[in-house]
């Protein structure tokens, strides 16, 4: 344990007038400036730009503890702990002296979506600077109150001490909060004094989960709360022809209300099981028309290829005209639709009372959801309050927002009671927006020395974000209302070419993206297009290495100049150097830098292939990751371990199936994922870079994991699988 930090503070007069928040470099005490850790940036970092006031991020409580407010939601990624670490560090407090409030409209900053591995970069960094600025202000005020020489002040566990006098933060503020704006530069705690940041700090919420305490939106209970289920249409394009409310009430007498609005159907009962029965009864007798059929007769890849597209040139560097010298290699890769597949289907609670609508939701963006629901319902924005409550891990845009919108519709139809809507497994599997199918056509030219001279990638994808973003047309239910809201746009297309540019030194490069509108509903799934693009790039790198007669890792290093990239690849080599492979086993490797500007991650996989039945067992996976400055060491490890396992499941098993009516992957038998007997043992090494900005780690491993497995399968059995998933029938 480090000794108690005593915080040197100087220039009392200066503190008195400016509160220490605007200390310029020339005024710094030698002790601080000597650390060399004062940031030189002048712009406010992260989400402070939109919310510069300290009390937007941090409140001092009556007992002297602090409350941190983040606009991000805890999704299992540990953001609650990461922001608490930042505050505890800068305020010289214990972790249990910091509580955290997550995304809530009207309460926390509006930080958009909890997505894209950006929570640490934006929210945790904002909390770091707000807490540091708060500390300076608190010390300045304490010096005044104690008539003390600021240089003599000590700060420990939320108490400012001078001799035998002491003040808690609450006593310093006397019921006020710090409303000053953070102004750069802000003096940060020297990193060498860190107690929490960079360490494997335990997540306090884990024990509450393991005890079975109330954690999730699914666990909320209110007096008089009623239960709802929805009956989704049998197909995307279906419309409700008729249903008999009386027949449902006859079958299930406890039904409180059947709610119908256009083709939206729901039931409410006091008892959850009666709501389930009523929904079943309703489903049985409701009649629908389903005019448009899904293209289940042709192969998905062929169908998507024939769709009209809008196109975008992503990259055009050097001379991309084909040359007649060198060896040209071509290969086309494909990734099907895959689903988020939250273990707990979406859920929401809503209460409409006295013209006010309260919603509890595990949405990744409570503010944009509020705007979309407000427009859908025709309410004023101030009539709606949404509180973010953790749900089951979502891995992107799943049914959370839709369930919240549906709970709102039901609550409006049944005012005065908390209405809890729980989606069924079939609702979640059949109605969530999937990760788009993608095709990547690669072409490259090697010179005589085995170096890549030309690289060309043409990719096809649907949208990778149709989040509500304030548009009710992106709430699935809004399409079915009596007054429907059509989708306004295809959403964020850039996700399709995320990581389509290989992170290697290649002189001539051309990337083109073609966007289609496919048959299934799609949106953001963890890492967006990066998973498919890296699968293609890193599989292709192995194919090229073989053509060049090079070892796959040497070939990658031959095309790599970034020392951090080289370091993770070398680390991975070191981690796996003693691995031996038996017959029909193979080691595969892959590397990427997420978004080409965030975490570096190199992954290895050891697989065994049963050459009789084509079965693949991924026995072990290893990752070396550099996510810049480490905030929570164990958080990065856990995210990376999970990223490899989740990706192994996508890569080996997952493919959303549909028939001419609708999605037919409606449970865990028709959409299998890896089970315990099939899950690889995983190991992660983290390269800490305290001098670099911290970046998200939750989406770094998925892409390289897929290619590492495909490359290992090739080594094990000589079959190059370019169409995911790597199912047994492709190997025999």
């Amino acid at each position: 344990m480090k000794p108690t930090s005593s915080l040197p503070v100087s220039r009392r007069n200066f503190l008195k007038t400016t509160g220490c928040l605007t200390i310029g470099f020339p005024l710094l005490s030698s002790c601080w400036s000597a650390t060399g850790e004062v940031p030189v940036q002048e712009d406010l970092p992260g989400s402070l730009r939109a919310y510069p006031k300290i009390n937007a991020w941090l409140e001092v409580l009556d007992d002297g503890k602090v409350r941190v407010l983040t606009g991000k939601l805890e999704l299992g990624q540990g953001i609650r702990t990461a922001v608490a670490q930042m505050a505890a560090e800068e305020l010289y407090m214990e972790m249990d002296q910091v509580e955290v409030v997550v995304a809530e409209t009207g309460r926390t900053p509006n930080e958009g979506y909890t997505a894209g591995s950006a929570s640490v970069e934006n929210s945790a960094i904002a909390v770091r600077y707000a807490a540091a600025a708060a500390r300076e202000k608190l010390l300045a005020l304490a010096a005044e109150k104690l008539s003390a020489n600021p240089a003599q002040l000590q700060l420990k566990n939320g108490v400012v001490m001078e001799g035998n006098q002491q003040l808690t933060f609450a006593e310093i503020l006397e019921g006020r909060q710090i409303e000053d704006e953070v102004r750069m530069p802000v003096r940060l705690k020297p990193k060498k004094e860190y107690r929490w940041v960079g360490k494997a700090v335990h997540r306090p919420d884990i024990e509450t989960m393991i005890r079975g305490e109330q954690v999730y939106v699914q666990d909320l209970r209110f007096p008089g709360m009623v239960h709802a289920r929805v009956v989704h249409p049998p197909a995307y394009e279906a419309t409700l022809v008729k249903f008999e409310e009386e027949a449902v009430k006859e079958a299930v007498p406890d039904v409180l209300k059947v709610v119908a609005n256009g083709s939206f159907l729901g039931v409410i009962a006091a008892d959850e099981y009666q709501a389930i029965r009523a929904a079943e009864a309703l489903r049985k007798q409701a009649q629908w028309s389903t005019p448009t059929a899904l293209p289940s007769e042709t192969s998905l890849q062929e169908h998507l290829q024939a769709l009209p597209v809008t196109s975008e040139q992503v990259e055009d560097k050097g001379n991309t005209a084909p040359s007649d010298k060198g060896t040209t290699v071509k290969a086309t890769y494909f990734k099907p639709y895959i689903m988020h597949g939250a273990i707990g289907p979406s859920c929401a609670v809503a209460l409409y009372d006295n013209g006010k609508l309260d919603i509890w939701s595990h949405s990744q963006g409570v503010y944009p959801l509020r705007e979309a629901i407000q427009k859908m319902l025709g309410l004023a924005i101030e009539q709606i309050h949404i509180k973010g409550v953790p749900g089951s891990g979502c891995y992107g845009h799943n049914g959370a927002d839709d369930a919240a919108a549906e709970a709102a519709l039901l609550a409006m139809a049944y005012p005065g009671k908390h209405v809890r809507l729980q989606w069924s497994r079939e609702d979640e599997h059949g109605w969530e927006p999937y990760g788009s199918a993608m095709q990547m056509a690669m072409e490259a030219q090697l010179d005589a020395a085995g170096k890549i001279q030309h690289w060309r990638c043409t990719l096809w994808s649907d949208s990778h974000s149709t989040r509500p973003g304030g548009d009710p047309g992106n709430l699935v239910t809004a399409h079915y209302l009596e007054k429907p809201f059509p989708r306004q746009s295809a959403g964020y297309l850039g996700g399709g070419y995320r990581n389509s540019q290989p992170y290697y030194s290649i002189p001539n490069l051309r990337i083109d993206a073609h966007f289609f509108e496919g048959p299934l509903r799609v949106s953001s799934l963890r890492s967006l297009g990066a998973y498919a693009n890296i699968f293609a790039i890193e599989s292709f790198m192995d194919e090229l290495a073989e053509k060049a007669g090079k070892d796959p890792l040497t070939f990658r290093l031959d095309h790599q100049e970034d020392p951090r990239a080289i370091a993770v690849i070398r680390k991975l080599q070191e981690m796996t150097k003693d691995q031996k492979t038996a017959d029909h086993e193979g080691m595969g490797y892959a590397f990427s830098r997420y978004k080409n500007e965030d975490s570096y991650c190199a992954v290895a996989a050891l697989v065994a292939v049963d050459t009789q039945n084509g079965g693949v067992r991924v026995k072990n996976m290893w990752a070396a990751i550099d996510a810049g400055e480490v905030i929570n060491l164990d958080g990065i490890k856990n995210q990376t371990e999970g990223g490899m396992i989740q990706s192994a499941s996508w890569t080996l098993k997952e493919e959303v199936q549909f028939d001419k009516q609708h999605v037919s992957s409606l449970d865990w038998n028709s959409y299998p994922m890896l089970r315990f007997s099939e899950v690889p043992s995983v190991e992660v090494a983290v390269i800490a870079r305290p001098e670099e900005p911290p970046v998200g780690a939750g989406e770094a491993a998925q892409g390289p994991s897929s290619a590492a497995i495909a490359n290992a399968v090739y080594r094990a059995c000589g079959k190059r699988v370019r169409q995911l998933p790597i199912k047994p029938e492709k190997l025999i």
Binding site: G76, D634, Q639, S677
Partner: protein, 157 residues
């Protein structure tokens, strides 16, 4: 059609009035206000809703509550001792920082407790086989295995 159902849950008898066909899960969560068992699929495919029925890890989403009135039911909450001390398996899950989102962990802990009652020192393969009914989407399985081995070591030093 409602009737009186008596259940022995976490060492206490509870008599409630319910449709006797109601799956145990909904009684535990809604009538007894327990959070441990979670709704995951309602099909017995994922293990999120598991409880110990006479010591055996059992999905609670399909069995009618009225069919387990003579059995002893323990939920995740019931593993915690009266003084708040965690069961060694729960303690090991905390020490290994096993969960990410945590939604599936109820079933993992319940399956692990059942396994360790039958096999005090399970090999990795035994653990994998025993937890085959339990799905985790975050990918915490390697940590679950470590936690169970840690628990086994602490229970049988």
């Amino acid at each position: 059609m409602k009737q009186s159902v008596t259940l022995n849950v976490n060492g206490q008898k509870h008599t409630i009035t319910a449709d006797p066909a109601t799956p145990l899960l909904y009684i535990l969560r809604n009538q007894l206000a327990l959070n441990g068992p979670k709704y995951g699929c309602g099909l017995g495919q994922c293990g999120s809703c598991m409880v110990l029925v006479d010591g055996k890890a059992t999905p609670s989403c399909l069995i009618p509550a009225s069919s387990v009135q003579r059995n002893t039911i323990i939920t995740l909450e019931g593993l915690v001792q009266k003084d708040g001390t965690l069961h060694p398996v729960q303690q090991a899950f905390v020490e290994e920082q096993t969960p990410q989102c945590g939604y599936c962990q109820n079933g993992m802990v319940i399956s692990a407790v059942a396994l360790l009652q039958e096999n005090q020192d399970p090999e990795e393969e035994d653990i994998r086989q025993s937890l085959q009914p339990n799905l985790c989407r975050c990918g915490t399985q390697t940590r679950v295995i470590k936690a169970i081995r840690r628990a086994a070591a602490s229970m049988n030093p």
